[in-house]
């Protein structure tokens, strides 16, 4: 019988077991179904309750409808589109305003005057649309009475427009970018803590059940460590991909998200940075897990990691509002902060390519160096049953 097992075969077997065990866990499957339903349901509900995006004011017009076209044109011109409805008489108009169906109703008086019936007051853009339209209607009527050539007038005034040159124009996608950043930061936070903890618990399980002694008589400690991290990491990527596809898919399908390109690049960036962030913390979580002998003790060695992750995410939430700040820029170069600052900057659209490449390289190099140290700790601690090994002891020896 062939007893040779290559390193890749050993790691592959271990990773496959970790993956299978994790995805077959009832609690894991159920919680994921709930979360996916919540993501899709939440986005669909948002799209329904926000009325599909635009919510126009309705203006009712009694009598002559020629002003309707003017109202619509004026509304569009000032960026406040309105809906115009024909109303039979003043009484009906009053009733519709009272019931809230109409924002305002126009009842014609004499010589171009109108009475506007509204709930309490007529203000802002809607007032501008109404007053401008009544003016235009009256002016047009007067000009026509003077036999002015309407076409010549339009041509003569066509160039009298205002062109806006904004120094800092508002980004129409800003709202969606912030939402995407927040989603990316929050999901990364949950994924890194969750799957880091799965690694630590898996290591402790092997140690406390003593199966590790049987395993280490046939595989090397590092094969066991990497197999576990790869297997659990693969589940993490799968879960993140499912959430991303569900979230971005539902967002685009319902029209809540319109920035397809940004959404997809945030999705890909988040996935990529999860791999780096997870690898960074997974080796540390494995080392932390190997230092204790009982599940109850695992929090004592993983607490410093949790604190570091919390610090990362506080910095991230702080930076969501101002992704171009110096803090965000500096932290994005420092591992492990890059793992959450970069997806945020990518979502905000302020990450140049050189920064993406540079921070990925720094993060990867740091993770590799850390993996060597953490793997040493793991190797030293994994068979030490009994008293919890402290981080100080673990690094010292």
């Amino acid at each position: 019988m062939n007893h040779n097992v290559s390193s890749s075969r050993a790691i592959g077997l271990i990773a496959r077991r970790e993956f299978t065990v994790q995805v077959m866990k009832k609690s894991f499957v159920i919680s994921n179904i709930i979360i996916l339903a919540a993501i899709i349901g939440g986005i669909v509900a948002y799209s329904i309750f926000s009325g599909g995006g635009e919510d126009r004011d309705a203006i009712g017009v009694v009598g002559d409808q020629s002003i309707a076209a003017v109202l619509q044109a004026n509304g569009d011109a000032i960026g406040y589109p309105v809906e115009v409805r024909e109303i039979a008489d003043a009484a009906a108009a009053r009733a519709d305003v009272e019931s809230g169906d109409l924002a305002v109703a126009l009842v014609p008086g004499g010589s171009g005057a109108y009475t506007a019936i509204t709930d309490s007051e007529l203000i802002g853009a809607l007032r501008a649309v109404v007053e401008g339209s009544v003016q235009t209607q009256a002016t047009d009527g007067a000009l026509a009475a003077q036999d002015v050539d309407q076409a010549a007038l339009a041509a003569a005034t066509a160039n009298a427009t205002v062109t806006v040159t904004a120094i800092d124009p508002p980004d129409p996608e800003a709202g969606q970018r912030v939402a995407l950043s927040l989603a990316a930061v929050f999901i990364l936070y949950a994924q890194i803590i969750g799957f880091g903890m799965y690694v630590a618990m898996g290591v402790v399980e092997e140690k406390s059940s003593r199966v590790v002694e049987l395993l280490l008589s046939t595989v090397r400690p590092l094969q066991l460590l990497w197999g576990k991290i790869l297997g659990i990491g693969a589940v993490g990527i799968l879960q993140l991909a499912l959430y991303g596809v569900a979230g971005v898919g539902a967002g685009l399908a319902t029209g809540v998200l319109t920035v397809t390109g940004t959404a997809i690049s945030v999705f890909v960036g988040t996935l990529g940075w999860f791999v780096l962030g997870f690898a960074f913390f997974a080796v540390l979580y494995a080392a932390g897990g190997s230092m204790v002998s009982r599940q109850e003790d695992v929090n004592s060695t993983t607490m410093p990691l949790l604190v570091l992750i919390m610090a990362m995410f506080f910095a991230a939430f702080y930076s969501v509002g101002d992704p171009e700040s110096t803090l965000s820029n500096v932290l994005s170069w420092i591992p492990p902060f890059s793992a959450v600052m970069m997806p945020l900057r990518i979502a905000a659209g302020v990450a140049p390519l050189y920064q993406i490449v540079g921070t990925v390289l720094i993060m990867a190099a740091t993770t590799a160096a850390l993996a060597v140290v953490a793997a040493k700790i793991y190797q030293r601690s994994i068979l030490r049953i009994g008293k919890t090994v402290t981080w100080k002891e673990a690094f010292a020896r």
Partner: protein
């Protein structure tokens, strides 16, 4: 099949010497019983053999070659601290362990089938380990040591916690593996079982081997005891005979300790000289006696 050699192994834990230049062989086809008090060094020896612990000095050889990871993978091991994934099903778990030891998927499936049937746990393949009784968990643990058709078996306390039926199955399996040419070493505190089962026995105390040999050799090497029932004999009747020492004398029964090679006929003559002799029987020391002697020495 090759000999497993423990060659001059030493191991310290801080100030405690766990193993002190320990050496012995387990030959192909041999069932080797490893006995000693708690803390004598049995488990440490086995862990070093499996590479789970590293020795401070000395080495473990199989067929004259140092045991590395590839060789180690051919060893079947049952750790003292039983260890299996508690929440994993028996069948997939055994297949996984077999594959880690180098079996292909299909080989692992048939091996698991074969061994679980043999050990009477084939009905439990789809149960998780923690749903099994301790005795059945023990059988799964033995199956885990056997599924990859090991070239060496190293079993730490395989009989502890087994019911008599399971003890019989375990004994039978161990004999069978030895008969197929595999060196088998196991530790146990059940000395009668070791005496009955083993071809050779090693007695370890305080990290060094006190005695190694076949059970008969060991029993023959110590002082035999002779019980003589001669009612008329007076105390000290046998003291003049070379190699003989009186252990006890009461109610006409004398218990003598006789060195190997002493002429028992001379003792019989001396006994008959005191009057009638109703009983004259030698007792070889049991393994338990030898064990006590070795541990107390």
């Amino acid at each position: 099949m090759s000999t497993l050699t423990i060659d001059n192994i030493s191991k310290r834990y801080g100030d405690t010497i766990a193993l002190d230049s320990l050496s012995f062989d387990v030959r192909p086809g041999e069932l080797f019983g490893f006995v000693g008090s708690n803390g004598a060094g049995k488990t440490t020896t086995m862990r070093i053999t499996l590479g789970v612990l590293s020795a401070d000095s000395g080495q473990v050889l199989l067929g004259g070659k140092p045991v590395d990871l590839d060789v180690r993978r051919t060893i079947g091991y049952m750790p003292e601290e039983r260890g299996l994934y508690p929440k994993m099903k028996v069948g997939p778990q055994l297949e996984y362990l077999a594959q880690l030891h180098g079996l292909s998927k299909s080989d692992s499936e048939s091996a698991v089938q074969r061994w679980t049937e043999r050990l009477g746990i084939s009905a439990r393949l789809n149960d998780t380990v923690d749903a099994l009784s301790l005795g059945n968990q023990q059988r799964v643990q033995l199956a885990a040591a056997l599924v990859h058709d090991p070239a060496v078996l190293v079993l730490d306390e395989p009989f502890s916690g087994l019911d008599p039926v399971a003890v019989d199955v375990m004994s039978e399996v161990l004999r069978e593996k030895a008969a197929s040419g595999v060196p088998v070493i196991f530790s146990s505190h059940q000395l009668d079982l070791v005496q009955r089962l083993c071809d050779r026995v090693g007695i370890i105390a305080a990290g060094s081997m006190k005695a190694v040999g076949t059970v008969d050799e060991l029993r023959g090497s110590g002082n035999a005891q002779l019980e003589v029932h001669a009612p008329a004999a007076t105390p000290g009747w046998a003291d003049g005979i070379p190699g003989v020492e009186t252990v006890d004398h009461s109610h006409g029964t004398t218990l003598l300790s006789i060195k190997p090679g002493t002429d028992d006929q001379a003792i019989l003559h001396a006994a008959l000289a005191t009057g009638p002799v109703h009983e004259f029987s030698t007792h070889k020391p049991s393994l338990s006696d030898l064990f006590r002697e070795a541990v107390e020495a």
